[in-house]
Symmetry: C2
Amino acid sequence: MDRLIEAIENTQNPSVVGLDPTEALVPPQVVASFADEVRDSVETPEELPAAQLAVAYFEFNRTIIDAVADIVPAVKPQIAMYEALGPAGVDVYTMTCEYAAQQGLYVLGDVKRGDIGSTAAAYAHHLSGVGTGAGVDAATGDDAADNGESVVFDPWHEDAVTVNPYLGTDGITPFVEAATAADKDIFVLVRTSNPSSSELQMLDLADGTKVYEHVADLVEGWGAETRGRHGYSRVGAVVGATHPEEGRALRARMPHTFFLVPGYGAQGGTVQDVAGMFDERGGGAIVNSSRGIIGAWRKSGKYDASMSADDALDLVAESARQAALDMRDALRVAVYR
Amino acid sequence: MDRLIEAIENTQNPSVVGLDPTEALVPPQVVASFADEVRDSVETPEELPAAQLAVAYFEFNRTIIDAVADIVPAVKPQIAMYEALGPAGVDVYTMTCEYAAQQGLYVLGDVKRGDIGSTAAAYAHHLSGVGTGAGVDAATGDDAADNGESVVFDPWHEDAVTVNPYLGTDGITPFVEAATAADKDIFVLVRTSNPSSSELQMLDLADGTKVYEHVADLVEGWGAETRGRHGYSRVGAVVGATHPEEGRALRARMPHTFFLVPGYGAQGGTVQDVAGMFDERGGGAIVNSSRGIIGAWRKSGKYDASMSADDALDLVAESARQAALDMRDALRVAVYR
């Protein structure tokens, strides 16, 4: 987690910009401007809208990244938004990750993968890349994380991914091993920000704890061997901004676990809500905002449907940068006490 | 779930072939035979091994599909194996799904997706496809499953997907809505087949039940409004063959929930282990085997490294078909009592 922590220190900004485009978040003239460009790239007319939107997402993301790269430490593309467009969207997801990494940003891939051990090892190639033997251990014939093998191709360009804990340790270990070998990180879902999250996560266990607390203890253990220079392990936790009390308790319960905090802004979480998820030095957490930043142009009062695509992208950039600065400044006041 | 149930009845075979290729499961001369074909398709030499393997996976899958299409009702590609190769692998995943569907097979996409509500709605496009408006509700600006909207492009070609329950109801509802609109299904992880699955799923709750039983009750409820002609809902459950006692109890606890049973064969589950997961008419479940079928050529005793690629694929086909027939016959004896 050291690379992320140092990027936060360099920018004095514990926030991450969620790159979660939807058609409604991209100015329509930007989408329209790619109509000619994609026409020859598809095999059937039905593919056109998705292909056009995918190209527009990349241009939109590049605009946002350029606007915030010097003031934020990280971006978090949500792969669901790209998978919604099919493989063309997945391509744009990886292009977005690559472009963000080239601009010096830490790239947190919000993929929420999770499976049984042998399959988790395949997913762990998100972090380890594809080796000369395509990531397969030739000696055993087993799929395995490429520990110690020189990586020649990294198709995903992620510095970290989010992972689901429902499968238990053998679904997590391959990710931890791949992260360790590649100097990357993972974030495990502990207490998510959505309303229904309590149905499972808040269940009372017979031993007096709750399910999410049990998961928290597992997460702290999964990271134990991977602590870095700043005291935090490579195994972070996802803790929603919408649960400030539990977040504060988890901060104490998981002293070596870095938090990714979604749910700020559009989902209702406030600066006060997230303050307790930071440690006493103002570290230990990073707060995500997606719509609040990438959709800020819609609330700017300056948008006009007759704008050119270039002018609309300029407005997207200007509005996103201002929203990112506002969030940074609000967090600085609340967190760096 | 009616389409799957009727496909099982037509073949008298409650089994599904897992299309989970790894480099070790594809004869090396098949991979080698694509060296020239992919050379011009990549931008950098580092991409070559992954691109070559991806093409080989498709040829391998097509061979398996052709060999079993008349004797099995369904295939289950595991997307992790394809994501391990990056976007080129994801392309081959969708091509595999499309080819299998064209051969009349029910395609169960093992993607284990799961996220908060608005993001789950984006993932639900795996089932709903991309509408003219690219799947976005233009009225509200919200991403939403395309209920009632005519689908013009289905990039994923899946008839069902697997989903993780850790996020609760609002992470599931978008999938149920998309499945209902498109006459498709989902399978929610309840009791997975892997050794560590007990860490979370078997925890004792304060009310005397276990976590997986609580999830089972949620799953039965999530499907309640979607029951089909055969009494089963569109919301199935994943119940590992390695837990026969719990599987038998779940069968009684979830009378309207169809089971996808992984863990047969290579993971240790036997015909006797899975028998209790079927209902009294021999319905209600489908058993997956991956390596036992697609890797059967390795145990045939007929493989020779000097074989041509075509001969190796013939052996793959012949061995897979025989293994699928053996599994079908074993299940028929145990299940159709």
